[in-house]
């Protein structure tokens, strides 16, 4: 059978066939199978991104096309509303730095606690920790809004038990952003725990046995074996959480729908406001492009910092 195919490909007739036909004959089915996901990516991700890039240079009207305005939208993006976009950038960076750091450490910590447990317990805890990931973000945000309520919220109830004055968690512009950050930090980083746990379980036991023979303690083993060998997973989780943090929206939108001055503005809430409250599509697209550049830049930096050549 193999000989027959070889004969067909090497025959003078086959050599005269168009290379594209040959290519499709050999790889065509493969492309057919990836076509649905390729189309979905193209229609729902790639084209919109290209389109947004084009609109960012236009005074765009949904029903009437748009006039080209050069870089005006980018200038407006930073200067409109007394430069609130810069404040949104600052808030988002603070949110991203704190929540990504906290999520990584909490994820690592919990996954490390799970590592020595039996398979049965690991499965149970993985499922339990993953619960927040399958719960609607809106429901989580609404719950946190109630917890933070100044008059009848649970957190102020706890503070009241120790005689502390109630805190205006979501209505004091000095702490509203920190409250939102707190709500994210206190929500278990489900994906992080599961991914770290899987990565830790894939480390060969031999390394730990050798370390035991060398007299290494648990912390030394964690630092010198576990952490380096899950570096590629750490990279993935860091990039995942960084992108999610820069795109924070629904939590802010649900918890402080009318804002707290501009103290809780993030990049995406600002984009939302620019397009859906002010109907300035060009400026919103320019702001979205700025977000795109920031996220890509952070991802590149993280890839360079965390890249690992370790294989096992």
């Amino acid at each position: 059978m193999a000989d027959t195919n070889l004969t067909q490909v090497n025959s003078p007739a086959a050599q005269r066939t168009n290379p594209l036909v040959l290519f499709l004959r050999k790889y065509g089915w493969g492309y057919v199978f990836v076509l649905p996901s390729f189309l979905a990516f193209g229609i729902f991700t790639f084209i919109p991104v290209i389109w947004a890039f084009i609109i960012s240079f236009q005074d765009f009207r949904p029903r009437g096309g748009g006039d080209w305005v050069g870089l005006q939208n980018y200038r407006d993006a930073f200067t409109t509303q007394n430069g609130v976009f810069l404040e949104a950038l600052k808030n988002t960076i603070i949110y991203a730095v704190v929540t990504v750091t906290a999520n990584i450490f909490i994820g690592l910590f919990l996954a490390s606690l799970l590592q020595p447990l039996s398979n049965k317990f690991q499965t149970f805890f993985r499922a339990a920790y993953y619960l927040p990931a399958v719960t609607s973000a809106v429901i989580i945000a609404v719950t946190w809004r109630w917890l933070f309520n100044t008059q009848w919220g649970f957190l102020n109830f706890l503070l009241g038990l120790i005689g502390a004055a109630p805190v205006r968690w979501l209505s004091d512009p000095d702490i509203a952003l920190q409250s939102i950050i707190l709500s994210t930090v206190f929500t278990i980083p489900a994906a992080g725990v599961v991914l770290f746990n899987a990565a830790m379980n894939s480390i060969p036991k031999d390394f730990y046995e050798a370390a035991d023979l060398e007299g290494a303690g648990p912390i030394r083993k964690w630092w010198s074996i576990t952490l380096p060998l899950i570096k590629s997973t750490t990279l993935y989780v860091v990039v995942l959480y960084t992108i999610a943090s820069f795109e924070v929206f629904e939590k802010v939108y649900i918890m402080v729908p009318s804002g707290v001055g501009n103290s809780t503005q993030t990049i995406v809430t600002q984009i939302y406001q620019t397009v859906f409250s002010q109907f300035r599509y060009g400026v919103a697209s320019a702001q979205a492009m700025v977000l795109f550049v920031i996220v890509v830049s952070f991802a590149v930096i993280q890839f360079r910092f965390f890249r690992s050549d370790v294989e096992y």
Binding site: W51, V260, F276
Partner: protein, 516 residues
């Protein structure tokens, strides 16, 4: 050329061709006449928002109608009509007073002669009409939903070939964004409720159909003429005026009774208001009752009557200049900030409370007074709450001043002329005196038509409407209000002085107003 090299080249050619085709189609689509797609830059935000907005809609209890079907007197009709006219005229009580005499005769005529058929559509259209209603929750989630369902049912009964599907959205910035986004997408909306200040942007984008060809002579004499000015662009009229909901002061009477506080005269001053608010701020067991609160939202003007009360209006009469950077405006804003920072009569979350929080506080008798448009009067009455409506306390201007917008029903353009006419017929019916006859309590505010009389508790707003400053119908208003809103909040939080809060956005607003 080796076989391997040829394969590699073929693969490259394929990838290049495919990639090029995708990019080219994207660029072509972007440059072409886009009638069915929204801004892609915000796809993620949009998806998130839709989820959020629908959740809010599901839990929200907003504008509602009363089931009371008592007919109101001719005097009330006159008052309502006069009130609405003055409100549309735009600004102060003085304007309202002038309008009163002008509309009295017209009301009498219109009421007597209102025999037109508003219900039967002669469009010949067979099929579905999508109507987006503000404050509507599916399945009769609130009283307004029930009256909307009943109105749609009455229209469908008269037009068996037409099915009306109602979609709800919340009466706040998020809700308006939702409906505007749907309208801009160019599908799924045939008629929709919209406040006047959101209309110009949509007209500018060609998302609204003019109503001139569908207005009858009776419509023209019945609808208050000044309201037409708010929907007119380049000589064409773009929406069916429905009502004028002004902001009034909701008085939680049981709390007044509990503390033995007498109701003030309707010509009460700010100082009297503060005095009462202080008396009505107290502890009841573990609960704290507050004298006053209001919603602060970029899409609403609930707290604005206080800022207006010393006589300063946000924009010049011709809407070409920002005018809230004056001493009267600063002192007006200080009236609001003092309630929180000096008199301490507001809840700790004052400035960031959601509409639901405020409604719940009123229902649970934890809030004595609330500035709010007329729609919620029905919700609270239906909930068994003992409320009354008072005018806004008088400031330095010496006269009561309220704020509000004009509720409209607009129709989207449709190439199917029969469907277009059917949508216009639906909009006309939903803004007609007939709908109030079919569904008593349908109107949640003083009507835009002289021939409509509204029932209790909404008729309590008829005296307030003439004093209302109406949000301007200019395209830049949607931007202007988002510039003002966070600064008002910051002043309430004590992070900005009233002077800083209202003077800071002046330059940017004036630039917006200068744009054609």
């Amino acid at each position: 050329m080796s076989e391997e090299t040829r394969k590699r080249l073929s693969r490259r050619k394929f990838v290049t061709l495919t990639g090029g085709a995708v990019v080219a189609s994207g660029i072509l689509a972007a440059c072409g006449d886009n009638t069915a797609t929204t801004a892609p830059a915000t796809t993620a935000a949009s998806a998130a928002t839709t989820a959020a907005a629908s959740t809010t809609a599901a839990t929200s209890t907003t504008a509602a109608a009363t089931s009371a079907a008592a007919a109101t007197s001719a005097a009330a009709a006159t008052s309502a009509a006069a009130a609405t006219t003055a409100a549309a005229a735009g600004t102060t009580a003085a304007a309202g007073t002038t309008a009163v005499t002008g509309t009295t005769a017209a009301v009498t005529t219109a009421v007597a002669g209102s025999t037109a058929d508003f219900k039967t559509s002669k469009s010949g259209y067979k099929g579905n009409l999508d109507y987006w209603a503000l404050g509507y929750a599916p399945g009769g989630g609130n009283v307004f939903s029930k009256s909307s369902d009943s109105a749609a049912a009455a229209f469908m009964k008269a037009n068996p070939d037409i099915k009306v599907t109602i979609t709800g959205y919340t009466p706040d910035n998020a809700g308006f964004a939702k409906v505007v986004n749907a309208v801009q997408s160019g599908s799924g909306v045939d008629a929709f409720r919209i406040p006047n200040d959101s209309l110009p942007t949509l007209i500018q984008q060609g998302a609204i159909a003019p109503i001139d060809d569908y207005l009858t002579a009776e419509d023209k004499t019945d609808i208050l003429p000044n309201l037409f000015d708010l929907v007119k662009v380049n000589g064409k009229l773009y929406a069916w005026p429905l009502w004028v909901p002004p902001v009034g002061m909701y008085m939680n009477l049981d709390i007044f009774k509990e503390k033995g506080v007498d109701l003030p005269p309707k010509t009460w001053t700010y100082d009297q208001f503060v005095d009462i608010a202080k008396k009505l701020t107290f502890s009841r067991g573990n609960d704290k009752v507050y004298g006053f609160s209001a919603l602060f939202d970029p899409g609403g003007v609930d707290s604005w009557p206080f800022i207006l009360s010393d006589g300063a209006l946000p924009l010049s009469p011709d809407n070409t200049k920002y005018t809230w950077n004056t001493a009267d405006a600063y002192s007006g804003l200080k009236k609001i900030t003092d309630l929180a920072l000096v008199h301490k009569v507001t809840p700790p979350d004052f400035g960031t409370q959601k509409q639901d929080d405020l409604l719940t506080a009123m229902k649970n008798k934890l809030q004595a007074m609330w500035t709010r448009p007329s729609g919620d009067a029905g919700t609270l009455t239906q909930a068994g709450l003992n409320i009354d409506i008072w005018p806004i306390p008088i400031g330095k201007s010496g006269k009561p001043i309220s704020a509000g917008g004009v509720g409209l029903i607009a129709v989207t353009p449709n190439k199917d002329t029969a469907k277009q006419k059917a949508a216009m017929d639906l909009a006309r019916y939903l803004t007609s005196p007939q709908v109030e006859k079919d569904v008593p309590g349908y109107y949640l505010a003083p009507s835009a038509r002289k021939s409509v009389t509204v029932v209790s508790p909404y008729n309590k707003f008829t005296d307030i409407a003439p004093t209302a400053w109406i949000t301007p119908s200019i395209p830049s208003w949607t931007q202007i209000r988002t510039l003002i809103h966070p600064n008002i909040q910051n002043a309430v939080f004590g992070k900005m002085t009233p002077e800083q809060a209202l003077s800071q956005p002046a330059d940017e607003i004036n630039k917006l107003l200068a744009q054609k």
